[in-house]
């Protein structure tokens, strides 16, 4: 180290401090912390009086919630119950919201007719933007409004750190943190929320791992796709009678696959790119507190509603406009959508999909819940996103376009593994503050999705 020739007072000071530090063989921090804590202890002894009381009710609760026998079953039961409540409970409000929003659509349509608005304006505003908005809101809002308050409740109670405590060992094996189980659970609700939640992981390496792999748990926007396809192509494929059971098994299997891929990529990342980034593990198990149920429910309901609405307006509306334009601007006598679909066809076929499916995923980048509607729009060569009246109709349409159960399987795999949606990527950018990690978060799942679909397709084709 080269020193300025005339010793300044600052340099002198720095030299003195360094000398003191080395005299203490670099354990000066210990000495400092010791002095502070001893002082804190002294004060505490003077000001705190403890009556002898029943020994911590918390410990009794922990005896149950983290017990070797009951810990896991209770945890799975609780999480399973929340998922079940979300999926079942969201159906009805979803339908009501959809009905309501589409009633408004027809009224708006009437209005546009009355004023003889130009066709393109009507198409862009109503069939494009409004319909996309309605879609995102009705699919997304009810499950979010059920899922997140449940989680907030568990959080306020203090149960969530216990989950992390229970499962940490599994995550340690792949170089990750037990709290990742929680950010993954949040990911089932919404990957963007899951990624934000990674802030609870203090250790930089484990936090990055959790952020980069959150996408492999399917969010509420992808669940409907997985469930529909499982029911129409997997369920009925074997025996009619046991179709629901089989469809359920397929969806559960996909989730387990997603979790395995999460663990695998976590392990890979911790062994490669993220090797050597500092990590430490200390996790507090706070005492249980009685949650303020009413306040939490209202708060988290409002928060989620605002989030979904905000996202619908910022992301889905422009996407709706663009998709409508692509589907309605023609080059020659086919729309741009069809052109691109045909262009992507060879690539799609290689991975057991087709060009339109790939296109639907690309156009569905802003929000996963519009992937299926876009696909239906493409197949019907209609100019707007559509939902079919029944699953049978959807099945017939897909079969007409050459689908087999393998296509459905690949589509499910691709949906599970592909790049994060726009909101999630934007959140990753915000949380990591780095374009490099954001790019990786895009490329890694994309590569995995293509490889998995490619390999699956090749193997099945060989077997046949």
């Amino acid at each position: 180290m080269e020193k300025p020739s005339n010793q300044t007072s600052l340099a002198e000071i720095l030299e003195i401090t360094e000398a003191t530090r080395s005299q203490n063989s670099n354990y000066i921090r210990d000495s400092i912390v010791e002095s502070i804590y001893q002082h804190a202890e002294q004060i505490t002894n003077i000001v705190v009086k403890q009556k002898e009381l029943n020994k911590c009710p918390d410990r009794k609760l922990d005896d149950i919630l983290t017990s070797p026998w009951l810990g896991y079953p209770l945890m799975l039961l609780l999480l399973g119950f929340i998922f079940w409540l979300t999926i079942i409970g969201a159906n009805y409000p979803s339908q009501i919201i959809a009905k309501f929003l589409f009633t408004i659509e027809s009224q708006l349509t009437g209005l546009f007719m009355r004023f003889h608005a130009p066709h393109w304006l009507y198409g862009l505003l109503i069939l494009g933007i409004y319909r996309c908005l309605a879609w995102v809101i009705s699919v997304m809002l009810p499950p979010m409004a059920i899922f997140f308050p449940c989680f907030t409740l568990l959080e306020d109670l203090g149960y969530l750190p216990r989950v992390a405590f229970n499962v940490d060992r599994l995550f340690k094996k792949v170089g990750a943190h037990g709290k990742q189980a929680l950010t993954m659970s949040m990911g089932f609700g919404c990957n963007a929320a899951g990624i934000t939640a990674c802030r609870i992981i203090e250790s930089p390496r484990e936090r990055l791992i959790a952020i980069l792999t959150n996408n492999f748990v399917p969010c509420n926007g992808r669940f409907p796709t997985l469930i529909s396809l499982a029911i129409i192509f997997m369920g009925g494929a074997v025996f009619k009678t046991s179709s629901t059971a089989i469809a359920t098994a397929v969806v559960v299997g996909l989730i387990l696959l997603g979790i395995s891929i999460t663990l695998f990529t976590s392990w890979l990342l911790s062994k490669t790119i993220l090797r050597g980034i500092p990590s430490s593990f200390t996790m507090e198990l706070p005492s249980y507190r009685k949650p303020q149920i009413g306040k939490i429910l209202i708060r988290s309901l409002l928060d989620r509603t605002l989030f979904v609405l905000g996202r619908a307006i910022v992301v889905a509306a422009p996407a709706g406009a663009m998709i409508w334009a692509l589907a309605n601007i023609h080059i020659g006598d086919t729309s741009i959508v069809t052109h691109i679909g045909q262009f992507l066809n060879p690539l799609g076929h290689a991975v057991g999909l087709d060009g339109f499916i790939l296109l639907a995923f690309i156009l569905g980048f802003p929000a996963n819940e519009i992937v299926l509607p876009i696909l239906i729009m493409c197949y019907l060569s209609s100019g707007t996103m559509l939902e079919l009246k029944s699953l049978t109709a959807m099945r017939d349409l897909f079969v007409q376009h050459g689908w087999t159960w393998l296509t459905a399987l690949n589509m499910m795999l691709f949906s599970l593994l592909h790049f994060p949606c726009g909101t999630a990527l934007w959140t990753i950018r915000k949380e990591t503050g780095s374009s490099k990690w954001t790019l990786l978060a895009f490329l890694m799942p994309t590569a995995i999705a293509f490889s998995v679909c490619f390999i699956t397709t090749q193997i099945i084709r060989l077997l046949r």
Binding site: R29, V33, E34, F165, N166, T282, M283, E284, L285
Partner: protein
């Protein structure tokens, strides 16, 4: 009487006093922040269902430490 133990070997339910930290760098500083200095009382409260991590009672808080961390802490059982 004068024997030292790694914290990870402290049985559930027993209490020890910290004698020394072996960790260096960030993990050491985090341990210091928790108040793990020589003389600090520490009680092993419970192990996770899978055997790791382990929860300890340290200065009024319940803190979970992994085997790797608790192995870096030397204690004297009380």
């Amino acid at each position: 009487m004068e024997h030292e133990l790694h914290l990870c070997d402290l049985p559930v339910g027993s209490i020890g006093k910290v004698t020394r930290l072996l960790a260096i760098g960030l993990p050491r500083r985090r341990m210091l922040d928790l108040g793990l200095i020589p003389g600090t009382k520490i009680e092993c409260v419970r192990r996770s269902p899978l055997g790791d991590p382990t929860a300890f009672h340290i200065r009024g808080a319940i803190i979970a430490l992994r085997y790797e961390e608790s192995q870096q802490i030397l204690i004297k059982p009380l």
